[in-house]
Symmetry: C2
Amino acid sequence: MKTSQILKERVGGLWEKYVKHEFVKQMKEGTLPQESFRYYLIQDSKYVEVMLRGLMRASSFAPSSQATQILSTILNTRDKGMEVHNYLLDKLGITHEEITNTGYNLANYAYTRHLYYYSTKGWKEFLSAWAPCMWGYYEVGKYVADSPNQLFSKWAEFYASDEYKRRVEAILGALDSYEFSEDLLIPFSASVRFEIMFWEYSLRREETPFYELI
Amino acid sequence: MKTSQILKERVGGLWEKYVKHEFVKQMKEGTLPQESFRYYLIQDSKYVEVMLRGLMRASSFAPSSQATQILSTILNTRDKGMEVHNYLLDKLGITHEEITNTGYNLANYAYTRHLYYYSTKGWKEFLSAWAPCMWGYYEVGKYVADSPNQLFSKWAEFYASDEYKRRVEAILGALDSYEFSEDLLIPFSASVRFEIMFWEYSLRREETPFYELI
């Protein structure tokens, strides 16, 4: 069995708790309060920035062909993602300044420091920590795509797209080039837990007291 | 005056010693012994690998728009470079194994460790350490392009190309977004010296006793 498949199986029911979280269900049904979505988008923007830096750092440990392929795939499909992202920010009146001036909530701060940590440990460890985010959002995108709420369906459309799927395939392909080991389960399962907490904290619009140096 | 221009002026005559080195002149005239070129290509292949890893590592410290732009430009123009590179390796019977099994000479080892060091220090410091290589090779390419030796002209053709020029412009554009400071001159001038030594060591086919962990 593929490494990615083993990892997913080993986290058991946590995976469904992540991809079918109450936050996700409310997006699909169109009942999610817009304020929660707005809160989520700001936290997510902060997360993506750290994730990209982590990818770059971790790539420096990777076999060059894998690093090149993944970075190309991510960067070449970035325009579409940014287009949707900027459309949503615009619709909700979120500026770059607001994102910078808002702190991280505890779940997001823990999650991004966890990604940073694994980006300094090694490539396959980073892939394993990163996979739940990329992989899970593809499933979430497919699930939410038919939302009656135009903002949520627009958001989901990108994650359900073929372009996004290519990213996921590139990442899982790289991860699957390594044999499964219990070591890989540690970052993977922590990231699944962080994803669940990420929805949770967004539903509750938790306080955001954690900042980075700029 | 632009930061890159100040840096070039401040290294004075060293720049010409680099881009019009005896090794370069012999390529242009077609008199360079093929064995020296072969030796050079192996050392250069090892260098490029470390340089790319350094770029990825340093990018994690960069403003995301700059990191994205430079990585995209480098990766999207990489096919052409690899095409020429692989053509030359093939012509000279150089395998991937030979590159891996050959050590670094002292100049190359010092140069690549220097790049590693700056890739951990910060983005503008790395740009300054990296610029002499990218910028100088464009000038070298233009100079060597009319060589009567088909291997050397093929080699030069890529560095003299518009695709390669776009890389140089992206890098210098990023470097020029920072004000000149004496601190930036330190990595820049060391790299110019290493480039000169790189040609020197290749002409003399110096011993290659330095290895990395794989």
